[in-house]
């Protein structure tokens, strides 16, 4: 029989205001195994901790229950207290009477009985606890960064600077990401490429960093400190080691009608191409879907003109496997598909463009060499309308858009308006907005410059319809909510500030890495406030828009935060492993494999083992759990029809004891 101590915390008035804590302590004294129970203002304070330690010594306690806040807060604190006082740290149970009780109830009539039930439940569980020992595992001193945009680049640089090896895996032929497509950046108006490309070069030259472009992560196994990752390097059909990047192949390629992804489809590119001038690596790639040679077996011009014979149509995808201690997910974002917004003319008129298309139209390396012009007749627009929040801040039942604010659109629209007014002062610019959101250093000043200095016409209201007119104009029908009147503008060009969304590849990746994602495909943090760059899966971190909408400086700051977390992990030689892992009861296991099928970590294998069962001696096929791989999720113990699989610290008997207590 255990000798149990129950410690009820007031948490100031957090708990004590809605739970009669002395009653909880009094009730605890009548529970089986409880030899001591007490309440105290702050159990987590040094005095509170000393009180527990002293009670363990004075009453010879073998297990304790602390009725306090969520175990996510102070379980570690109380386990450490127990260990110091000489009992196994896993002989500690927390009854969460704050988040799950006092905070959700209004008065003591409800709060106190529930707190007593929660206390009894924890006592029932701790009665069946047994001491557990933590194990140890090693750490592979190399990190993987998935995504080669500014988030991934900065994370990799910071990790490499600390002296650790980093690999970047980028799906596209070049690193650079979304930032490489932008013209200028707000609110300083420095040229995006000019500040990004030095970072790209740094990554390329850093001896600690390897870059796998045109590559994808195709499998992940293992656990914190010991991930094994399969990377598929798609074949470029060009041998990088021989290619000099002269570009002759791209200029001679006869297939030139493929929409140019880098310029958002506003112009075309050859089938063999380098996405943009500062691409890293500066090695072309053959788009096999559009290459005449791959389609028909003929052509082969690029191979013939290549002075260094680097083009090789026979090159195959290469699969490599590498071990990593930590993984950073930085897969970024794209704008949502605006074709769903037909009423705003997108896809109907060439002169209705997305704001990221406008970036390309304003960029010197873009399809118009930086001259702002309409795609229909190449005339410079005089009357422009910007529509904000296209697909952002939508109602929850609006299937076309997102409920969240994309955060960056207000600022880049002000930036685009200022730039256009700067280059073409005779342009009239109208911006339809819901709110203008400018929290950030020098942000509001920047927006006010657009309004006050440049005379951009901001109209609070929505646009209902954009209709292309026979004269080539776009009839914009909106509403001005401040003046309570309809607004009709015949515009030359309409720009839609579309919502941004995480790269859809994240779903596949999240499954491989067992990450949790929200309804909008953004990654969930281990704790939204206190662990904002850590995923719930140990050893996996996040950086950039994959976690939530953010601008460049925020992304860079988060990249640094992710990097320091990675460095903190890689700096350790050994990691403590969770002892609360699955354990099969060999006498009950019938070898059906259900547990192995549901295990998300591949931790369960089957072995033929000689079993002695009540005088019977036979070789049986039974489950075996790899303690290094098991994360203690408990999926196996739920799936096992025989109840043969138990999670240590959360055994079936313990769960049933808790349920029984609740149902009493």
């Amino acid at each position: 029989m255990q000798r149990i101590g129950v410690f009820v915390c007031h948490c100031g008035t957090n708990i004590a205001a809605t739970v009669d804590v002395s009653k909880v302590a009094e009730a605890a004294k009548h529970e089986p195994g409880v030899v001591y129970a007490v309440d105290y203002t702050y159990m987590c304070s040094e005095n509170g901790q000393n009180l527990i330690a002293q009670a363990i010594k004075d009453y010879g306690l073998t297990a304790i229950v602390v009725c306090s806040c969520s175990p996510r807060m102070h379980e570690a604190t109380f386990r450490a207290v127990a260990e110091k006082a000489g009992i196994n740290p896993f002989m500690v149970e927390i009854a969460n009477i704050r988040e799950q009780c006092s905070w959700v109830h209004k008065d003591m009539e409800e709060g106190t009985p529930k707190a007593i039930t929660l206390m009894k439940t924890a006592v029932a569980k701790v009665n069946l606890d047994s001491p557990l020992q933590e194990g140890e595992s090693t750490v592979t001193k190399r990190a993987l960064v998935i995504g080669g945009g500014i988030a991934g680049i900065q994370t990799a640089l910071d990790i490499a600077d600390a002296g650790y090896k980093v690999d970047i895996v980028e799906k596209l032929p070049s690193i650079g990401g979304r930032m490489s497509q932008l013209d200028k950046t707000f609110p300083t108006l420095d040229c995006s490429s000019c500040i990004l490309t030095p970072r790209m070069t740094e990554v390329n030259q850093n001896p600690n960093i390897r870059i796998f472009t045109y590559s994808e992560v195709t499998d992940v196994s293992g656990f914190v400190g010991n991930f094994t990752v399969q990377i598929t390097k798609h074949s470029r059909s060009v041998r990088a080691e021989d290619c000099t990047g002269c570009g002759i192949c791209t200029s001679k390629c006869p297939s030139r009608k493929t929409p140019n992804e880098f310029n958002r489809g506003l112009d075309t590119r050859p089938a063999i191409y380098i996405p943009f001038a500062q691409a890293i690596p500066n090695v072309p790639v053959i788009d096999k879907e559009h290459c005449i040679h791959f389609k028909t077996g003929k052509c082969g011009i690029c191979s013939k003109v290549c002075p260094s014979h680097a083009v090789d149509y026979e090159l195959k995808d290469e699969i490599i496997e590498e071990k990593y201690g930590a993984i950073v997910v930085a897969t970024g974002f794209d704008m949502i598909d605006l074709h769903k917004f037909g009423e705003l003319g997108y896809g109907v008129s060439k002169d209705v463009v997305s704001s990221i298309e406008l970036e390309r139209l304003m960029n010197a390396a873009g399809p118009t060499s930086g001259h702002l012009e309409r795609m229909s007749d190449h005339k410079q627009p005089k009357e422009m309308v910007f529509i904000q929040c296209v697909g952002s801040r939508c109602a929850p039942d609006d299937r076309r858009g997102k409920t969240y604010c994309s955060k960056i659109c207000c600022m880049y629209t002000a930036k685009q308006a200022i730039l256009i007014k700067d280059h073409y002062p005779d342009t009239n610019i109208h911006v339809f907005y819901i709110d203008v959101r400018t929290p950030g250093k020098n942000f509001d000043e920047f927006y006010r410059r657009a309004v006050e200095q440049y005379g951009v016409d901001y109209i609070k209201g929505n646009v209902g319809k954009v209709t292309p007119l026979p004269n080539g104009k776009l009839h914009v029908h909106g509403v001005d909510l401040l003046d309570q009147k309809d607004v009709e503008i015949d515009a030359d060009m309409v720009v839609l500030a579309g919502a941004i969304e995480p790269n859809p590849d994240i779903r596949k990746l999240a499954t491989m890495l067992t990450l949790s994602i929200d309804n909008n495909n953004f990654l969930n943090e281990a704790h939204a406030k206190l662990r904002p760059v850590e995923a719930a899966t140990a050893g996996v971190f996040m950086s950039g828009v994959v976690q939530g909408p953010k601008d460049i400086p925020e992304t860079v700051a988060q990249a640094g935060a992710a990097a320091i977390k990675v460095v903190g992990l890689l700096a350790k030689d050994k990691l403590k492993t969770n002892p609360c892992i699955a354990e099969p009861d060999e006498l009950y296991c019938n070898g059906c494999s259900v547990c192995a099928n549901v295990c998300p970590y591949g931790a369960i294998t089957y072995v033929d083992k000689e079993i002695r069962d009540h005088g019977l001696r036979e070789t049986r096929r039974i489950a075996s759990v790899n303690s290094a791989l098991c994360k203690g999720c408990g999926a196996c113990s739920v799936a096992c029809p025989s109840g043969a699989m138990n999670l240590k610290g959360f055994t079936n008997r313990q769960i049933m004891a808790e349920v029984d207590t609740v149902c009493q």
Binding site: K508, Y588, G591, C592, S593, V598, E618, A639, G643
Partner: protein, 330 residues
Amino acid sequence: MQELINRAKELLADGTVVRVLGWKKGDLPYNPEPHIFTSAQELEKDFIYNGFCGANLSKYMIAATKLEGKTLVFLKPCDTFSFNQLIKEHQVNRDNAYIIGVGCKGKLDHRKFAAMGLGDIAEISGIELSDACDRIHVKTIYGEEKDIDYRDVMLERCFFCKTKEHQIFDEKLLDSKDTVAEGADRFEEVRKIEAMTPAERYAFFRSELSKCIRCNACRNVCPACNCRHCVFDNTKYDTAQKANADTFEENMFHIIRAFHVAGRCTDCGECSRVCPQNIPLHLFNRKFILDADDLYGEFQAGSDTTTPGPLTAYTLHDVEPAAGLERSRG
């Protein structure tokens, strides 16, 4: 039937198999029982295969294939689903099995004879596979004689026969005859129950399950109930006494059992056939099959030996938990 005996004798004689799992004549004309035969004499004397041989022999192969040497087993088409499922769950050793797929023309339900007042059968003809399928001649111990339609006394499950094709076999003997009723929908009963209000549904199952005497026949016969120790007998799990807490907990046995076999049940219908209290236990299983089909795509347990069941495999296209909730709200 003699073909089966002859072939079994041959396989015993040439050493292909060392024992034969089949059906043995019962003490009454309508209760043959599963039996392991080890000699030609025994086969000639006691082996039987007729309309009353509804028993699915697959489960007996768990023990039989652990023995030294091969076991010959006779499996009806529906039984082969169970055998495949047992291979998938590593319960039978395929190498130690020699499977003869036997034909089937639908199996008989003694309860239906009883309902007609013909339960106490003294003599019966027309129930062998070779017989022209339509008419049965019965003579009772009271001397009453009657000609009845085969289909009037056929097991309910045979009207919804999945297939007359064997899913796994080493050889096949005797041809099957189609038994499926025109426009048969095996989920019709389930849909009726789904259409009930929660209160009606609760009352329906409480009423049915209150008949249960916990004889465990359903559990013992079910090929999916192949745990070494059932959780209900597992003292380490603390479910045993839980199930005895009150009469409703007792009834929970069937609901938990249905959960445990969900995604693994081949819908062989043995649970309902053997229930001495006539509880339509197969309805639970069919409800789960229908739900799983709807949520995860159509799946027939035991149609092969490798495809993971819908509840023990994770795919990217799996439904979100909310889908189940929406569904239960109708």
